[in-house]
């Protein structure tokens, strides 16, 4: 059997935790058929919730309609709220089924629909794929792959602006860390050449995929210690630990809210790092992009 051509799937074992939540939710349903539907829906949401938690997403199942006993009586719902991203619908697919059914109850307010295959013993759930557009039924072969699903979610997550103003009060989004963890000591000193001892400086690893081979880059953002009505911002791109120079041709750009490039620079042969320096007013939004060849990574910020 060739694994290369198969789509990626993810199997979640269903045991005491999954079934006890399902048993809780199916209580007080007005008919055995409805109770069965709620039970299967709950297992499907459980599997997707587990998958997303494995992948570092912040889910909020308890606040979702699929955990609201009154809501469950009236609509066929299997939703899962993901913090900052929106609602996913998680539809159970029976062992022999070839299509995923999506009832009209849940055609609104969803960022996507995930199909979850349950096995006959209900001891395993397998995430099969997803679709962004609902339809009464979708053939399983028409689903987008789980690879696409992770890309879709990561893109959504990245499109949330990083709130720099919160950095002043010490609230830092996941993925940003002290630059000592990202860069070699010499690089840290280079980065700090431009700052006062008390600046706020954080970095994030960025992935330009195949373009860079083994090498990784870090995006570093520096803020003054206190917010002012105008905030002085430096953004830098460094090679990560173990590397001295940036590859030539790495572009760093700052775009304004309309997407217009307002500043840009590019690494030459043997550059240790590149930097842009600008100021932004409070509440202003901007985007930083790092690009090499055909690949680019963008991050939105708000100050």
């Amino acid at each position: 059997m060739s694994k290369v051509t198969e789509n990626l799937t993810f199997a979640v074992p269903l045991s005491f935790e999954a079934h006890s939540i399902a048993q809780q939710c199916c209580k007080h349903q007005p008919s055995p058929q409805k109770a069965k539907q709620v039970y299967l829906n709950t297992l499907a949401v459980y599997a997707v919730d587990f998958y997303l938690r494995c992948q570092g997403f912040d889910t909020n199942w308890c606040q979702s309609d699929s955990r609201n006993p009154v809501m469950l009586k009236f609509i066929d719902v299997a939703d899962l709220n993901i913090k900052y991203l929106g609602k996913l619908e998680c539809r159970p697919v029976l062992p022999d089924a070839e299509v995923c059914h999506i009832p009209p109850d849940v055609w609104e307010n969803r960022i996507g629909y995930v199909a979850v295959r349950l096995n006959q013993s209900l001891k395993e759930a397998t995430l099969l794929g997803f679709t962004e557009k609902p339809a009464k039924e979708i053939h399983l072969s028409q689903l987008q792959s789980l690879e696409k699903f992770t890309e879709f979610l990561c893109q959504k997550r990245q499109s949330e602006p990083v709130n720099l103003r919160q950095w002043f009060s010490g609230i830092i989004e996941a993925g940003w860390q002290a630059i000592e963890q990202l860069l070699s000591i010499e690089k840290v000193e280079l980065a700090y050449m431009f700052r006062d001892a008390v600046n706020i400086t954080l970095g994030q690893q960025i992935d330009l995929g195949m373009e860079l081979g083994e090498q990784s880059l870090a995006l570093v953002v520096m803020l003054p210690p206190e917010p002012d009505s105008e905030v002085d911002i430096r953004v830098q791109v460094h090679p990560m630990k173990g590397q001295t120079f940036l590859p030539p041709g790495v572009k760093l750009m700052v775009m304004d809210e309309s997407g217009e490039t307002v500043l840009d620079t590019e690494s030459r042969e043997a550059d240790n790092f590149i930097q842009l320096h600008f100021s932004a007013e409070l509440e202003e939004r901007f985007t930083v992009a790092v690009a090499l060849g055909e690949t680019s990574v963008k991050q939105d910020f708000v100050i």
């Binding site: 059997m1 694994k3 990626l8 799937t9 199997a11 979640v12 074992p13 269903l14 045991s15 005491f16 079934h19 048993q23 199916c26 209580k27 007080h28 349903q29 007005p30 008919s31 055995p32 058929q33 409805k34 109770a35 069965k36 039970y39 587990f50 938690r53 494995c54 992948q55 570092g56 006993p69 009154v70 809501m71 009586k73 009236f74 609509i75 029976l94 062992p95 009832p103 009209p104 109850d105 055609w107 609104e108 006959q120 013993s121 209900l122 001891k123 789980l146 690879e147 992770t150 979610l153 990561c154 893109q155 997550r157 996941a174 993925g175 994030q204 690893q205 960025i206 992935d207 990784s216």
Partner: protein
Amino acid sequence: MVAPPGDDFDRQLQKLAIEAQQHPPQSSQRLQTLNKLINEIWQSKQLGHPQSGLWLPNVYEDLYNEARQRTMLEICQNIDKYKPQYPVMAWVNSLLRYQFIAVVNDYNNNRIISLPSLDDLERFASQEDPLDDALLVRRFLQDDPENLLQAESIRGRPDVTFKILAWARFVEDYSWDELSKNLGISPQTLCSFFNRNLRNLMPYLNRYLQ
């Protein structure tokens, strides 16, 4: 899939683990690599079965699944703690041993629940005596004690209210498709109206149906 011979398999797992570590946290590449790594780990013939002689097989399966699941979460969250000088399966099996003990502690005897299969499910669900609940909903819809269920209707159709739709769906058991045909309104419009009202009426429903 035929499990590859030991050394190759170890190397393949190690390659995936290191690759996952190298991708930035929260990148789709790391997510996909972790997914592949987990899939390979469960195929492994070297996966341990802690305490397997101590439990009845049916209880063991569920305890093991719960422990396996917690181990998956731990692998994904702590992939950066994996040290490449050790085989991946040695790391996984030590996590699994600890998680198994934790599961046994959490679910010792009295909290072990029975897990119905798909075939048992309807019978299992009907033990709950749904008749009382059905009656409660039916009475509530009929009485509408605070007279709020007919406050709104679909634009241009004063005959189509939340009360009418809820009654048709839950007492008379019509599907949205059937209602759509009968009323000449699309299922989307009906559901959209119904869901919006359901949300607005939630405090009222909670007072009488919980």
